[in-house]
Symmetry: C2
Subunit: 212 residues, 2 copies
């Protein structure tokens, strides 16, 4: 599989999932500003939404949208047990993938992290934090994971929570969420993905600073 | 199964899916403003996010988030063939469910339909329309459905496109999308769900006007 990613984006969740699965993969870095791969390919021609992650499967077709990509990798490596096999368990993971994708990632963090979003847009996003993070706080007070066992939903949530300091969100307001995030970062696969991508992110910042 | 819904909301997709499946269900109407069921129950105590759809399964637990609910119903009634059985096909449906949920429903239509969203927020949402609807236009020019066969992704997309006139979005700008939407509305299950919920929506408007 080929994973198109930008460092520290939500594609980090797929990288961590590939590591959890022990899946061989080639990582193709996309500059989120220029929308070109580091090899110089026009990423708009690869994914017309211009977003990462995008996964080129071993059969050669392209899969996008984080919950779909995460479930695809997890289902391809069932021995890693990152997706429950029963319908009720699977549905609960899909519920959390939906919540993280729509309510946290897109409704809150995209506007807060977007330099083109104005003050009113950021406030509209920020107003959504209390209900959503409060719900997580309640849920995680007595649970180690989002569902009964570790799953791709935990990997996605930890990835989104990584952005909190850059979005001006202090996780200390929700101690159970903060403690959960700290625990997630101790998973070797996630820790490896984070440290590798953080280094690539800093390289990218340096390249950009030189180019301007 | 019990489906908590508000008329003409995205829960309409679950109603249509239940009809496609011939699934017996009880429909519990939630007033989207007061967050109470028509029987007077506090909906915040049922679903702490206050959103519909929420599905009470026959085993008694509650499932939320539209893509999870739609996949759960479709997987419970495999004979309706609303979800591909192979991993590649399933992943593609999940990709579209993700796209519709994050890029159209939450990023565009929620702010455009939200009376509390200011002009800057609505413009930020509107600016996202061209790329997203253009991508759909290209995709649907030569396809009857989002994937090879009719699926819950089509039901969800048709439900979101129902909102276009209320959001000030003229689908005529994307003729293939408009033609697709018209075709979807000819599916008996979706047509029945729409006509029933449109009547309930009008009743709700009348009740609200009387109460103020």
């Amino acid at each position: 599989m080929d994973l198109y990613f930008s460092p520290m984006s939500c594609a980090l969740a797929t990288r961590a999932t590939l590591y959890e699965c022990g899946a061989p993969a080639r990582f193709v870095q996309v500059d989120a500003h220029t929308k070109r791969t580091l090899e110089g390919d026009d990423y708009w021609r690869i994914n017309p939404m211009g977003q990462v992650p995008a996964l080129r499967t071993d059969d050669g077709w392209l899969l996008t949208e984080n919950p779909a990509v995460l479930q695809h990798v997890a289902a391809s490596y069932p021995q890693a047990c990152l997706l429950p096999e029963d319908l009720a368990g699977l549905s609960r993971v899909q519920q959390w993938l939906g919540f993280i994708g729509t309510e946290l990632h897109k409704a809150v963090f995209v506007p807060l992290l977007d330099p083109k979003a104005g003050a009113e847009v950021k406030q509209y996003a920020r107003d959504k934090l209390t209900l959503r993070m409060g719900l997580l706080q309640t849920h995680l007070q007595h649970q180690a994971h989002l569902v009964a066992s570790y799953s791709v939903a935990d990997i996605y949530l930890a990835t989104v929570l990584n952005w909190a300091p850059y979005a001006g969100v202090d996780l200390a307001q929700w101690p159970a969420v903060q403690a959960y995030h700290q625990r997630q970062l101790q998973r070797p696969a996630l820790a490896r993905a984070l440290s590798e991508e953080f280094a690539l992110f800093q390289e990218e910042q340096t390249r950009r600073a030189r180019a301007t």
